[in-house]
Amino acid sequence: MTDSPTALAEALAGVGYLADEGLATVAYLAGEMGRPLFLEGDAGVGKTSLAQALAEIRGVELIRLQCYEGLDVSQALYDWDFPRQILHLRAAEAAGEHDAEELEASLYDRRFLVARPLLRAIESPGAVLLVDEIDRADDEFEAFLLEVFSDNSITIPEIGRVTAKVPPLVVLTSNRTREVHDALKRRCLYHWVEHPSYEREVAILRTRLPEVTERLARDVAEATRRLRELDLLKPPGVAEAMDWASALHLLGAREIDPDRAAATLGAVLKYREDSDRVRELTLAALLR
């Protein structure tokens, strides 16, 4: 079904994700070469949704690992279900089980293992794993990911090595709050995701929000494009444009007008300084 970048782009479009040629080519390569895809770009350009769309066309569940500072092995990889282990131990004792070795072996059985995202991705064939905002995790965690991705396996001391039958498709995203280590990047396919062009943005708005009129979609895409050129603290992404269009639609707008635009500005601009600046420049000028 997806034997070329163009076919992949079409499949993605089929599930409502409009990828440009570069992104489709890189995503195609990631699947073919079995390499993680490393996506960077401004917030709200559709890095996370790409992973969702890829999972959808493969017909698998998206396994998501949201990174944060202090993320550790027991939250990312696996954990033992301690209360159940204790219960099992007590039950075995009550039943008169005395063979210590057998008891110990039964305690570290697979059924007491709670699989966290990474282990789940290794265990489910062909899964799509999203490691979101890798830059938020500590750098020790990167080294650890490197280990998992280099041979698609995880070693659990009590059980042994778990190897993926079909390696997962891994999508890593970063907002560049810090530089991710080169060793990890080298193993990935790198792609900088840009804001979509005007035409593509209109198409995205029309696909994702079919209830919005063509006119409103065009107006919102145009106004968003102009906002991006204003050198704001946080330029609006596609996500914000969609929020804005749907907010305007809920207010019954069929096209953009200064009053409704001013009332819904909070959907696109998330800093007071930015809103002030845009109000100063007068919304009317912005809306043609």
Partner: protein
Amino acid sequence: MTGTRDVTDVVLGFARTLRHAGVDASPERVQAMLRAVGHLDVRNATHVYWAGRATLCGSPDDLAAYDAAFAAYFGGEAPRSGRRAPYQRDRLSTAAPFSVETPGERSAGEGPEVRAAATGAEVLRHRDVATLSPGEREELRRLFVLLRPDPPTRRSRRLTPGRRGAVDVPRTVRETLRRGGETARLARQRPRAKARRVVLLLDVSGSMSPYADTLLRFAHAAARRRPASTEVFTMGTRLTRVTRPMRLRDPDKALAASGLAIPDWSGGTRLGEVLKAFLDRWGQRGTARRAVVVVFSDGWERGDPALLGEQMARLARLAHLVVWVNPHKGKEGYAPLTGGIRAALPYVDEFVAGHSLAALEHLVEVVRSA
């Protein structure tokens, strides 16, 4: 029909071009590109373009150089859609000399060696570095080894075994299982202390040049002490990140490498604009968040002081502590009169001098206790 052999040659040649343009196209990456091209149509320029970009580049800084190299090597325009990458790679243009001008004080007759020998280390610690002779400066560089710029710490979300604190269930249970189901003792855990990020912004404009060498050495000492949590930038007419060269072990090599990276050495200053560039590109994304930000500058601003004030307000909202180091503050009769300083001061938590080794030791203390 193109043979495999030719494709390999072409890709290797392209990688060479790219390395000349300053992108680190390592053999490992080139192999990845060859594999990527193998999965695509070699005769399709767009495919080759994206295969190379995904495998040879590693940051937005590389993209502009990649486009240029691609256009130069394969001819014609690089087939790119959309706007250009927002970040242009800083061109390396000038090599900056690190020996700062000798101030007029060192007059005829007295050789530098004589004076250096006569100056005790203690006296040297308190001397303004701008007034030192080359010999004394050499002596002071040796004293820099004594500087221990320890980072401030904060509570991490990671936990470590401790005597007090919350019960560590996994460890307690593991212990319990080891004892055959008897809980003898509750294992506990407490938050670990983690180095807080320190960001050093050094003004390398003409008016700061007597102090540039000393401040860069200070930055090097800090970066070497805690490479992972220290970021160093220079400010002049533009922003340059010198964190990487600063991590080199040898101070002289680190300074020489940073000098090559700084294109706007001893030029003018547009503090407001450069600070804005720092905040847009690095600070707001996370580098300045909850960090200790140290600005080394005399506050001579060529641009609009109002912009500097605005950006300082932004910085103050992001950072844990903002320290402004002005070498002139150590001089007698100094009053913060320049427009830049006056605009910035309301947003500065600590305003300190940085003209001598003793003053820098004080700065280390301020940063450590932040």
